[in-house]
Amino acid sequence: MDSYKRIAKLKIQAAQERAHAVLGEVARVENKVYVSPGSQNVVEFVGDAARRIDGRLEMEQAVVDADLLDPPELETRIHRVTSLIPFLHILLGFVEGSDVHHSPGQLLPTLRRYTRSIFPASEIVISSKPELNYAIQDIAGPLRKMFSGTSVEASCALLPELLFMVNIPAAESGQILIHGVVSHELGHALYDRQEMAKKLLPKIKLNESLVKGLTSTMYENQLKQGHPTPELRLRKQITQEITARVNGWVKELSSDAIGIYLFGPALFFSAVHLLTSFGHLDESSDTHPAPRLRVKLMIRMLKQLYTVEQWRPELQSYLADWDSVSAAPVKGTNPYDQLALETINDAALDLISQESQSATATTDRYSTERFVRDTNEFSRLLLSHIPPGEAGPYSNATSVGLASIINAGWHVYLCDFEAFRKTLHPNDARTRYTTAAKLHELVLKALEISGIRMAWEEAKVDSKLGKN
């Protein structure tokens, strides 16, 4: 036993040295210039947490000395605490690529303001890394939950209420239009904040006989093959697989629905653009429904909320193609997917749409009127190479919102791409890619102007209030 204790202490000491090494790394990266204060929040959090984990490891020495735990129990306990060191490295990895030399800085102010208009106490970090991975997520909430009641809990005070980490593939950092999917991720945060699951889940009805029948059918099938899973384990498997799917899928679909309320057609355009590139239409997992089902919900909502019949023929035809594709039944590749698909039927999709509406404030919702204005006015400006960052009379212009700019950009991309191409210098119009790059540049410039205009308006308000 003494040798186990000595090894445990050695393990603690080694981990403490690694915690100090993390502090060294923090000292190195904290001097970088970051585009968002959120990066600094993460670095400070890691530094503070490393010190507290060091303290926690010290406390674990007392657990070793107390001689209460069996060697395997002690090993498991100590190992869990020492595993926090690689976890800190993961956090530091989040801010990599968010410094001024890598992060697409023009995007941040507008994205940050938009996010704060929905979640005032939020912060956003945009990292650009050399990996093909587009992801957005809040890390502050999970960190608070994880460390709640532990000695590291106090470090969480260094974090904003919500800290969205956006990762953009470096190679595609200029493709601004795909950022319409940010509204889906905000949908996740609203789903949690508005406790939508509490209202929505009890209204989603599972087919009881199908669930019950699944257990016996699977057992009988396995019995015939001569490899039956014990009944208890089969019950466990079925319970886990079904509940994970229905919970996860409802959450993802609700986030899509909220995204449609926030950004309108732009979320749909961004989503299908990403999905067509990287996802199989019928591929689902225990956390995510098949893209075909997600497209179906989004199109259903667009047809209910927007005057799609008055859209430009190019756009109507684009929507009709997706409509016909999404109308085909999703092919579940296993009985759990099939059961989830039976459960999340058209009525459930409408329920998700209705509940998602109540999760968004009226003032935050994009509308058919705005879409008509944005596609008429701002798309025309883009075609004239004028970034639509502000609108209104010269002396009294106001900034154009993020959703409006992205919608106008998509409209040009999908309806007027060739017309836009003809307006470009032959060098820029050389290929589809060079043309798209020019469009993205214009959209990015519009976002930058919108950010500057908004900052100016805020400064004027602050000045009136005597804040500066």
């Binding site: 209460l68 498991t76 976890f87 957005i136 460390f147 886990q240 997992s285």
Partner: protein
């Protein structure tokens, strides 16, 4: 795989693991006959809740309704099944969970003193659960296992 995708699951796995380790420590104290402090009783109260969830998860198939607690019930049921590797029959599982819960309630409330054998059974159950949670944490740290993947993302490598 990319770290971002696993983050939610990883944070949750750590959180569960910390609690499970504390439950094991409290049970070790109880087995050694040491007095249980307020903290110990609190974590043992959480052990009771976990066992309640495990039971609810077991029964879910018989009445498959969805609530915000359904997912937790399914998760704790799965953990409980894994922590009782020699139990295969549904009735035996329920009997085990009921017994374990009785012991946990007695310890958390101080209403009675369970036998050392019963405390050891409960301790073994929670140690098995803690170990399997650590395996999951390790998998997530190394980039394996189920992950809360944003399906917008393209993951290669």
């Amino acid at each position: 795989m990319h770290t971002e995708h696993r983050f939610l699951d990883l944070a949750e796995s750590f959180k569960n693991g910390f609690l499970l380790d504390d439950i094991v420590l409290a049970l070790a104290r109880a087995e050694k006959g040491q007095p249980l402090g307020e903290n110990d009783r609190e974590v043992l109260g959480k052990a009771v809740s976990m066992l309640d969830f495990a039971e609810a998860g077991f029964r879910w198939v018989d009445n498959p309704e969805l609530t915000t607690e359904t997912r937790s019930a399914a998760t704790f049921f799965a953990r409980a099944v894994n922590a009782l590797p020699t139990v295969h029959a549904p009735d035996a599982f329920l009997k085990n969970i009921t017994e374990l819960k009785k012991t946990a309630v007695e310890l958390s409330t101080g209403a009675a003193t369970p036998t050392l054998e019963k405390v050891r059974l409960l301790r073994t159950f929670f140690y098995n659960t803690a170990q399997s949670e650590l395996d999951r944490t390790e998998q997530l740290l190394e980039g394996e296992g189920g992950a809360d993947v944003l399906k917008w993302t393209a993951t290669k490598g």
